[in-house]
Amino acid sequence: MAKAKQRVAIVGAGPAGAFAADRLLRRHGNVEIDFFERLPTPWGLLRGGVAPDHQEIKRLDETFERETLARGCRLFANVEVGVDISHAELMRHYHAVIYATGAQTDKSLGIPGEDLPGSWPATQFVAWYNGHPDFRDLEFDLSGPRAVVIGNGNVAADVTRILTRSPAELERTDVADHALEALRSSHIEEVVVLGRRGPAQVAFTSSELRELGYMDGVDLVVDPREAELDPLSLRWVSERGTFTVRRNVELLREFAASPPGGAARRVVLRFLRSPAEIRGDGRVEAIDVRRNRIAQTDDGALRAEPLDELETIHCGLVLRSVGYRAVPIPDVPFDERFAVVPNREGRVLGSDSEPLPGVYTVGWIKRGPTGILGTNKRDADETVACLAEDLAAGALPSPPEPGREDIAALLAERKPDLVTAEGWHAIDGHERDRGRELGRPRVKLAGRDELLAAAGGTG
C-alpha cells in the first residue's frame, strides 16, 4: 500500500495562504492541503481588499483556483480556527499547520476624537464597499460636502477614488450593491488627503498617485508650495530616492502646476499635515490639523516634526488609513509589539524562541502588513522551503488522527453550514451569472445568510 500523504492545514485562504498551497504543491507534491477560512468565501483581500475599480487584479482568483482547489486542495470555509476548532485539534489531524490569517484590524492614531461617530478606519470602509459580510450594515454618512482621508498609502488612494468616482463608473465594477446605492446619493464634493510628511515620503505607488490625477470628472489639487521639497528631502531623493520616489515627486510637481478644471468633484492632497484632534458635537464636524516640517533623525531617516501651527478643516467623514494590524490567534504565539506571529523564516517560535514542530506562518501575520500581492509568493517560498525540509527530514511526527475523512466528518458535524469548494463554486457561479445579466464582472452576495444560502446543500 502506498504511504499515506502527509497532511497540511492552511489557516486563512487569502493570497498568502493560496500562494503557500501553490508553492508547496510545486515543491513537495506528495501532500494533501486543506484550507480553513473564517468567511464563506476564499481569497481574502483579493475579494475583500483590492479596490473594485482595479478589476484586472482580481483576475488572480483564476490562478488561485487553478493552482489550489483544482489540484485537490480542500476548502473548509465558514469555519473559524480558535472558535469552531482549536489549534490543538488541528495538530491532531495534520502534520503541519500554516497560519496565514493576515492583518484583520487597523492601527489607531491615538488622537482625541478618533472614535467619534463619523470617524472610521479606512479598512472598514474598504470591507464595506467590497461586500465583506461582517461590514455590510455599516452606515457611512456621505451627506456632507467634504471627507478627510488620513494617510498616504494605497488604501488611502483606494478609498479616495471610491469616494469620488462617478456611479456610472462604479456600476461597471463588482462594488457591493449596498455601497453602490449609498455612493449614488453621496453629496461628497471634496476629499482632502492628509500626509504627515512631504511629497518625497508618500507611500503611494506612482501608478496609484497618477490615477488620482487622471480620474474622469475629478480635479486633483496640490498646492505648489506643498509640492516643493525641503532641502533635506531634496538631498535624500538625489542620494537615496527610488525610481518610484522620483516619479512621485515629478508627478506632484506636474499636478501642482496644472490649474483645476472646474470638475464637480475634487481631491486635495495636503502634505506636512498631521491630524491633532477630531471634533464635533456627538459626531464628526471638523478635524484640527497640525503643520509639520521635515527633520532628520540620528540614523539619517526623515521624520515629521510638529510645528506650532494649527488649522481646522470642516468635514462630515474621516477615514483613517494609517495601516493594518494583525490580531492574535488563540493558542498560537503572538508578538504584541510587532503584531506578528514570532517566527524564523516561517517556522513559528515558542516562548523559548525554538521552533514549535509543525507550526508555520506566512503573509502579513508573519512579516507585518507590507508588500503587494506578489510579495506573498516569495514569502510563501521561504515558509514552504522550511516546511518541505522538515517533511522530508521526517521531523514532523504523524498526527494521531491522520485520516483524510476524519476532519471532514468532525467539521460537518460541528458546522452544518460548512462551505466547501463546491459551495464556493455555487456562490461564485451565482454571482457571475447575476453580473453577466447587468454587464458587471459579478454581483456580490454581501450577507452571510445569502452567501450560505447560495452555497446551500452543496456544502
Binding site: H54, E56, I57, R59, L60, E62, T63, T205, S206, S207, E208, R210, E211, Y214, T242, F243, T244, R247, I372, L373, G374, T375, K377, R378
Partner: protein
C-alpha cells in the same frame, strides 16, 4: 516594437521566469526589487515573444500596439526605468 508592463502589476514574478532574454527587471534578489512598485520590460532587449503575456496572472503585460489608452504612458515609464540602469548593467555578473 516592444511589450510593456502596466501599473496593475502585482510583482508575481512569473514573467521573469518566462522571459527567454532576461529583459524583465528588477528580478527577485536585485537590490531594488523590494522597493520597486512593479516590474518593467526593457524595450531595447525585448524580442516580442509574448511569453510574459501568457505568464502574467493578472494580464498586466501588453504589446505596445495593443496597450489600452489608459496605460499608454507606461511605454515611456518602462523605457525610463532602463535609462537609469540598463539590462546589461543589471545582468552583469
Amino acid at each position: 516594437m516592444t511589450y510593456i508592463i502596466a501599473g496593475t502589476c502585482i510583482k508575481d514574478d512569473s514573467c521573469v521566469e518566462a522571459c527567454p532574454v532576461d529583459c524583465i527587471h528588477p528580478k527577485p534578489g536585485a537590490p531594488d526589487f523590494e522597493t520597486a512598485e512593479q516590474l518593467y520590460i526593457d524595450p531595447a532587449v525585448c524580442i516580442d515573444c509574448d511569453a510574459c503575456v501568457e505568464a502574467c496572472p493578472v494580464d498586466a503585460v501588453f504589446a505596445d500596439f495593443e496597450t489600452p489608452e489608459k496605460f499608454k504612458y507606461m511605454l515611456e515609464v518602462n523605457a525610463e526605468f532602463f535609462a537609469e540602469k540598463s539590462t546589461a548593467e543589471r545582468t552583469a555578473v
